[in-house]
């Protein structure tokens, strides 16, 4: 690889490490480590949310999916964005009003039950792991392409770097890394979209006209149905995308980094604008890659299409743009992974260790050490799993994390805030039914079993027809919570009164 690529790449990595170092000096207490001391403004936090959200799947994955499958790739952009309306309307503000550090805290504002906390921590760690494997697999492919390194070495480098970020910086570091990275990513997107439009003389009609004859699909490229041919399968995927965000632990955690519900609200608004613009631009990247890189070259670099955006950068702006976009993609993955590790570590250190093992008596220092050891543990686990997931599709892994979040977490979040009769038995059954139905259905799906050798983990007929099971597992999560609640006698209406008042007014006891 040319020296420019390596120099620019290293420069951006050093820049983020420097920010991490300065942030580390400011991380004093447990609260700081988890939530940046509540000191971010709405706009800052919104950009950080966008930074967290625009992961390998959004940048590399969607650009590739649109390049290869036209309209069907754009489905991801739409679902990932509209998910923020669910967050804004139903979840963000009550969550801010109830939560402390983690999702389990919020649920426990209503139920002081260890089994609820345990179930929430379990689903958080599962979601984080799936999300993280996807990022590591994407990063591995990128570094493999850039430096010609072996895949395992590439994954190891990303893994070690993200661990350094989290161990030394905590949440302030990852918040600022997210902000820096979100800005760089948007700049990269805008430059590339501008160059693509330049090639089409800034005529969008011309662009549509040209891509019609640019791909192997011909006119079908602009029509839906190239990739998703089962109607219910498409709906299932769309359901996971739109409901998943409101249950993603590393996104929900960002609402605890601001001081009140109003700031949480303005965070979501900023995030929605940034993310929306980003996803509109994925269209130009996808079409650009389809027209100027070409189907065969994209497939040759990576069969999932994940290298479409970097390859397009090379065609449009030569080595310099290629290096810049690759470095931004790498920083993106690094930052997202750091955020993920942190929410996994919080679930472990705060919920499992702090509240269950130490029965809430762990000192701040003990918790902080536990969080750091947990970060290390979660990182090592993800690195090991990613080594075995080399041939799995990145977009599949991420949409699966969305599906688990929508099935296991969202029902409990909504019931906790809005349903008076809801109880601990309901909370535990909702989470476990959602989590395990999603996991079991996926393990029986076409992504795991395929009659074509090499297309999936095992050769055989899939028992479950859709690769994303949300259409079954989300209703099951809600049903589990409903049945678990009404079949057990326990009910505490007074506690709901408190939760409801706090959730909707933001009332807090003065400590």
């Amino acid at each position: 690889m040319s020296p420019i690529v390596i120099i620019l790449f290293i420069a951006i990595v050093i820049l983020t490490l420097v920010i991490t170092y300065f942030a580390a000096k400011r991380t004093q207490t447990t609260g700081d480590f988890y939530t940046a001391g509540g000191g971010l403004t709405g706009v800052q936090n919104g950009i950080a949310i966008a930074g967290d959200y625009l992961s390998a799947a959004s940048f590399l994955g969607i650009a590739g999916a649109i390049a290869l499958f036209g309209f069907d790739g754009f489905f991801y952009s739409i679902g990932f964005l509209i998910a923020y309306l669910v967050v804004l309307f139903l979840v963000a503000e009550p969550l801010r009003n109830l939560g402390k550090y983690t999702l389990a805290d919020m649920i426990n504002s209503r139920f002081d039950a260890k089994k609820v906390r345990g179930a929430a921590a379990l689903s958080t760690i599962t979601i984080v792991t799936f999300y993280m494997i996807a990022q590591l697999v994407g990063a591995g492919a990128l570094i493999q392409l850039l430096f010609g390194l072996d895949y395992w070495l590439a994954v190891l480098i990303v893994g070690v770097m993200m661990t350094v970020y989290v161990l030394f910086g905590g949440m302030i570091a990852t918040s600022w890394v997210q902000i820096v990275k979100a800005v760089l990513l948007m700049i990269g997107m805008i430059i590339m979209s501008f160059l693509v439009l330049l090639k089409f003389d800034f005529n969008i009609g011309q662009m549509f006209h040209d891509v019609k004859s640019a791909t192997v699909h011909g006119a079908d490229y602009l029509k839906p149905g190239l990739q998703y041919t089962q109607p219910l399968g498409t709906l299932s995927l769309m359901l996971a995308l739109v409901l998943g965000t409101a249950g993603l632990p590393h996104i929900l955690m960002r609402f605890f980094t601001v001081k009140d519900a109003k700031t949480a609200r303005s965070s979501v608004i900023t995030a929605t604008w940034v993310i929306g613009i980003f996803y509109v631009l994925t269209l130009f990247l996808g079409f650009g890659a389809a027209a100027f890189v070409g189907y065969d070259a994209i497939i040759a670099a990576n069969s999932g299409g994940n290298m479409a955006a970097p390859l397009l950068a090379q065609v449009l702006g030569g080595d310099i743009l290629f290096a810049f976009i690759s470095a931004v993609a790498f920083a993106t993955i690094l930052a997202v992974v750091a955020g993920l590790v942190l929410s996994g570590a919080s679930a472990f250190a705060h919920d499992l260790y702090g509240e269950i093992v130490k029965k809430g008596k762990a000192t701040e220092k003990e918790q902080m050490y536990a969080a750091r050891y947990a970060s290390l543990g979660v990182s090592v686990l993800a690195i090991v799993l990613a080594l075995f997931a080399q041939y799995l599709n990145v977009a599949f892994l991420v949409s699966l994390a969305f599906c688990i979040a929508a099935s296991a977490n969202l029902p409990v979040i909504l019931y906790t805030i809005y349903w008076k009769r809801f109880n601990t038995a309901g909370a535990v059954t909702a989470m476990l039914t959602g989590l395990f139905s999603a996991l079991i259905l996926v393990s029986l799906s076409p992504s795991v079993f395929s009659p074509v050798e090499g297309a999936a983990l095992f050769v055989g007929e899939p028992i479950f027809p859709f690769s994303n099971p949300a259409i079954i597992s989300v209703p099951l999560g809600f049903l589990g919570g409903y049945l678990g609640t009404i079949l057990s006698k326990e009910a505490d209406m007074r506690r709901f009164a408190e939760v409801s008042v706090k959730a909707h007014t933001g009332y807090k006891e003065e400590a």
Binding site: L85, A113, F208, K212, L222, M238, A497, E498, V501, E509
Partner: protein
């Protein structure tokens, strides 16, 4: 375990450390806030979910969105882009409305604090 929690909770109430949330929850001001929020959020949520799912439903079961709208751009692309426009419009409407909810919530919090002191 829930018994124990309830006992502790009652103890806290007896000590006067906790506000009477049931009273607050049953107050007219709070009921009105919930009602207003529901009246605003529920119809919009139903609307955007229908609008959203209409896209995959129409593309899966019909082909009429494939008819050209502007040159080579077919209606399916117009519908897809309109999803973005809808998101931004609903965000803006929500922020405007949420400010009135903030005022209502502030008054309720004031009321709780006064009630807590006089107890």
């Amino acid at each position: 375990m829930d018994m124990a929690v309830n006992q502790e909770y009652d103890k806290a109430r007896d000590n006067g450390n906790t506000v009477d949330f049931e009273k607050a929850a049953n107050s007219n001001a709070f009921k009105k806030l919930l009602e207003d929020r529901k009246k605003f959020i529920l119809p919009l949520t139903i609307f955007f979910l229908i609008f959203y799912f209409l896209l995959p439903i129409l593309t899966s079961y019909t082909t009429f969105l494939n008819t050209p709208a502007i040159g080579d751009i077919s209606w399916v692309w117009i519908f897809a882009i309109s999803q973005f426009a809808m998101t931004w419009i609903l965000c803006t409407i929500y922020v405007k409305k949420a400010n009135t909810f903030d005022e209502q919530a502030e008054q309720i919090v004031e009321e709780i604090k006064r009630g807590g002191d006089s107890k």
